[in-house]
């Protein structure tokens, strides 16, 4: 029976035994994801490749010392992040996670952020419903299911995420694609829980907006 490499215990045991199939599985599972993440922290694809290569070597050398206090996945990502950040600092291209709070409150950074265009709400001096919808969103459930789940829709999500600022892209990728918990993401990125949530919220808001325009081009 084939080994279940998605089970950390099995995977680590087989890696320590020098099981080539286990390592091939591991690389196939994470290499592209690591590469994409590394690119958020360093200047060029070539440097990202080096960082990822160094990470795999560190995994190979360090697997005997892996203690299982986190998942293997978290352990590998942490190695990658440390290497990527070190390279990024050297190249003066780190993602400015620390500056997000200022940006979140509208004090500089990427300027005013709003989850929805302010024009979609009634003005503050509206006599009846200030701040409530004047142009509420249309439910997507009215979209045919085939359209909601089509590859074309996923491609839209992918391109929306690709267009995000690097720090938002990193957070939404780790949280919503790679399935890390908020504590793990804070730990990996060295960012506070509050900043992590701000970045996550903005990223999800951007994806939502992108999908809304895709489903309903009349919405500006």
């Amino acid at each position: 029976m084939a080994d279940d490499f998605s089970n950390d215990e099995v995977l680590v045991r087989q890696l320590r035994r020098g099981d080539e199939a286990a390592f091939t599985w591991l690389v196939g599972r994470y290499d592209r994801a690591l590469r994409r993440l590394a690119l958020d922290f360093v200047a060029t694809p070539a440097v990202a490749d080096e960082v990822v290569g160094d990470t795999w070597l560190a995994v190979i050398e360090g697997i005997d010392r892996f203690e299982g206090r986190s998942s293997l996945k978290t352990w590998i990502y942490r190695i990658l992040m440390n290497k990527a950040k070190t390279r990024g600092v050297r190249e003066k291209r780190t993602v400015p996670f620390s500056s997000v709070r200022g940006a979140a409150t509208g004090a500089g950074g990427d300027g005013e952020f709003a989850t929805f265009d302010p024009d979609r709400f009634r003005p503050p001096d509206d006599p009846d419903w200030p701040g409530h919808w004047s142009s509420p969103p249309t439910p997507w459930q009215e979209q045919p299911v085939e359209r909601l789940e089509a590859a074309e829709t996923l491609a839209q999500v992918q391109s929306a995420i690709g267009a995000l600022p690097a720090n938002q892209r990193t957070v939404i990728t780790l949280r919503d694609i790679r399935g890390f918990g908020s504590d793990e993401v804070c730990d990996l990125l060295g960012v506070s829980a509050g900043n992590q949530r701000v970045l996550l919220h903005r990223a999800r808001a951007a994806v939502r907006r992108h999908l809304e325009m895709f489903f309903d081009p009349a919405v500006s």
Partner: protein
């Protein structure tokens, strides 16, 4: 909100609700804020739609994972596996 002429005195306006969606879903709002959010959701179909869309975004984004699997440059894979085999020669 149809029918009523004005919101309850303690209602959370929609433009504030939409900024709190992620905090709400992450479970980090204190009980007072959570109460405001949930009270507002009861009376506002527009904001219920926002919440539903937020869930949809999470589901669709989660689907992207599969795209990354088994899609690695064979040359890169070979290089890495060779390094692994050097470090861990299989037992005879």
């Amino acid at each position: 909100m149809a029918g009523a002429t004005s919101p309850p005195a303690d209602d959370l306006p929609c433009n504030q609700f939409v900024e709190l969606v992620t905090d709400y879903l992450e479970g980090v709002l204190d009980s007072e804020w959570r109460h405001l959010v949930e009270g507002h959701l009861e009376i506002c179909s527009g904001c219920r739609t926002v919440l539903a869309q937020w869930h949809e975004v999470l589901v669709l984004t989660g689907h992207l994972d599969e795209h990354d699997i088994d899609d690695l440059d064979p040359a890169v894979r070979h290089q890495l596996v060779t390094a692994f085999c050097r470090a861990y020669p299989p037992a005879p």
